[in-house]
């Protein structure tokens, strides 16, 4: 890590950057809710792609390296697109909840939406609300002209099970009982071990990077 005066800037090698992207991509893919936005990773990856494309343009045509690099660019672009698409799908699917969560976020808490995603989510909500109002709601009896989208649109299912690999050893993770007969118990997560567990139990560990969803 490089520190620059007061700011903290992590300098990653391209390989580490791509690995961060892939980790963020897999986590986002398998998590039932929208995860923290990672603008730094996205920005760096885009820069990296531009850099690689510029290199490609300057290279000799017909050189074997050109194909390999081109392929690499395509792969990275795919992962980035897939990651952003996955987020958009979740934003659209849970839009009232996502917006509510962002609006009620405390000052120091990390954001789950980038500013652009926030704008997109707001537009999506306004667009849909206007549509429903104009097509149906305004024709309904006066006491039924409002619909609470927050109540009607389903929330993400945080109880769904996910597979994970442990990156940093964790001790005493509290697991809540599923049935009334069970009691809550604690488990230790060994580094390198793999588990199938309820998302809700390990959600903070995904955010901190202690586990990787697979």
């Amino acid at each position: 890590a490089d520190s620059d005066g007061g700011s903290e800037e992590l300098v990653l090698t391209p390989a580490q950057l791509i690995r961060s992207l892939e980790q963020a991509w897999l986590n986002e893919k398998f998590a039932p809710e929208l995860l923290e936005s990672k603008p730094e990773i996205i920005e760096c990856v885009v820069e990296q792609l531009d850099h690689m494309e510029a290199n490609l343009k300057r290279a000799k045509k017909g050189d074997l390296k050109v194909s390999v690099h081109h392929m690499e660019i395509e792969r990275i672009r795919y992962v980035l697109s897939s990651y952003l698409r996955c987020r958009l799908v979740k934003i659209e699917k849970f839009f009232p909840h996502v917006l509510e969560k962002e609006k009620s976020r405390a000052e120091g808490e990390p954001s789950i939406l980038s500013p652009e995603e926030f704008a997109f989510a707001k537009e999506y909500m306004a667009n849909t609300e206007t549509y429903l109002k104009n097509v149906a709601l305004k024709h309904m009896p006066p006491n039924l002209q409002k619909v609470s989208l927050l109540k009607s649109v389903p929330k993400p299912n945080l109880d769904s099970f996910v597979f994970l690999r442990v990156l940093e050893r964790q001790e005493n993770i509290l697991v809540e009982p599923e049935t009334d007969e069970q009691r809550e118990y604690t488990i230790d997560l060994e580094e390198g071990s793999q588990h199938l567990i309820r998302y809700k139990t390990i959600a903070p560990l995904v955010a901190s990077g202690a586990v990787q969803l697979i």
Binding site: E74, Y78, F120, Y131, L132, V135, M140, S152
Partner: protein, 166 residues
Amino acid sequence: RQALEEMRALYERNQADVSEAKSGRTDLIFLIRFRHCCLLRNQRCVVAYLYDRLLRIRALRWEYGSVLPNAIQFHMSAEEVEWFSRYKKSLATYMRSVGGEEGLDLTQDIKPPKSLYIEVRCLKDYGEFEIDDGTTVLLKKNSQHFLPRWKCEQLIRQGVLEHVLS
């Protein structure tokens, strides 16, 4: 529309009963509650139906691109067309904001890339098609070409080209 009519009729009947109930006839409360439940259910059904249509229209943007075929547009109401156009714009603004100068077209690269070039067969007459290095290819029905994958993606989705797997 029928559902709306039914709702209006039910509401009017309920209104009459509400004013009656206010004047002290408590035995009508159950009927009023029942009608209110029907109204709520109707509201939910109408909203669910409309929202489901919106989701399908949204899927069209991702499958067909920003210009919808006429046959599909014919089935959409004016408000749905408006919703689609606003959604398109919102998505375009977002895509432009990501990724450098030109933005990142998220409707491309839907599948992981297996190779740089692919063999495609033309299913309909499309005309001239320009590739990156300036050369143009004439896409006539049944002609086969070896083209860069990323250029073909949209045309494959639109049904103009077909990926030939040997």
